[in-house]
Amino acid sequence: MLDLENVSVKYGNFTPVEDINIRVDKGEIVVLLGANGAGKSTTFRTISGLKKTSAGSVKLENEPIHDQTPDRIVNKGIVQCAEDRKLFPEMSVQENLMMGAYVHRKRKAKIKQTLREVYELFPILYEKRKNPAGSLSGGQQQMLAIGRALMSKPKLMLLDEPSIGLAPLIVDQMFESIQQINREGTTILLAEQNAHAALAIANKGYVYENGKIVVEGSSEELFANEKVRKAYIGA
């Protein structure tokens, strides 16, 4: 479904992502592991078109998208839930969610439906639907960000470290909801520090080390891999 082929990205003369290949098949959950600054977010920004590739190609269902503008890419069904959330702070929670459905703006009924689903997934958002997003706590904002991403009913959803700053209980719920979202047919690409929980739900994973992919394989293989255990599962 999504193919990154020999993708490199540059910030000036510095290359945070170098010659990486990633393949995501329909219906999968794929996880990107890696230390800070390894290049995960940059990869995501590149897929979403917020950052241009310096080499290689990004293909969605075999058509290149790396030269497309972010909004086009969203229209094609790839939505990202970014690391730093990128909410609309002065808009109410509900308005934020509504904006999430921008690409479906024509289909009011469908939007209502999705909104209901999101509120079921994160009841706290319903409680705070009238509050400005900026007044939410760190974690609540994280949920809102994911909720907003869901609103566009994406084919492929990019989640950049969704568990940052979440309470353990919520983290578990979060990963459950991710699975649930996936079951309902959304393919998921996930960047995580919390390798343990991530690999538990993922089909396969890629491990970054300063900008390059050093290990890849099914979650079982990665679990088994000593290096990965030490570095990212901390066991």
């Binding site: 007044s135 706590s137 760190g138 974690g139 949920m143 940052i164 700053g165 309470a167 353990p168 209980l169």
Partner: protein, 254 residues
Amino acid sequence: MILETKQLTKQFGGLFAVKDVDFTIEKGKINAIIGPNGAGKSTFFNLVSGLYRPTAGQVIFKGRDISSLSANKVAKLGVARTFQTTNLFEQASVFDNVVVGHRLRTKSTLFDSIFRTRRLKREEEQCKEKAIQVLQFVGLNHAVDQRVANISQEEKKRVAFALALATDPEIVFLDEPTAGINPDETAELSELIEKMAEKGLTICLIEHKMQMIMNLAEQIMVLNYGEKIAQGPPDEINRNEEVIKAYLGGSTSA
């Protein structure tokens, strides 16, 4: 007991972000605050460090009521803090970021600056030495002259620590110091935190990473919907029904 809150309360519109919290922090210990998202942890920090005025209740630091003091006065008394989202002086070098940290311990006035008085020279030295010293302490000797914009997430956290330390605090509040940091780095940071405690600093941190908290903290307070639902040593907290229900859920080992 170095810092204590009495019936501390913060209200935003209708919502009680923090409600009637009594909390005492033992000198030289590592204290932790945990709780579900939106429990009021950061707000609690903002109250203690003077960025927010309490709606009701008091913050008492070394027997003195500081609830009505402005943030900079509180800092002068020896209360330092880091932010959930590290905000540093991106354009400046790590060193220059940290030098100002000690400004509050200096007396130089405009007059001194203009006439380059002995006092100014002395105090500038003092600030620079301090900066070097704390940067070494947090293990950033190698990055002293780099621009903050160019260093990694984890190094930024360390700079934030260094800044807090440069103010010669007696107590340091750390808001999710290891959020978005991978396990082995997390381990390194917790070592650093222990090292700070050994130096006689009192620590109070917010964290969600239970493993880390359990190894690190000597006392834990649990907030939920702004209210304190439990307080005590890790093992106790681990067993506390209410806490498990509200916060830990099934997997204690996330």
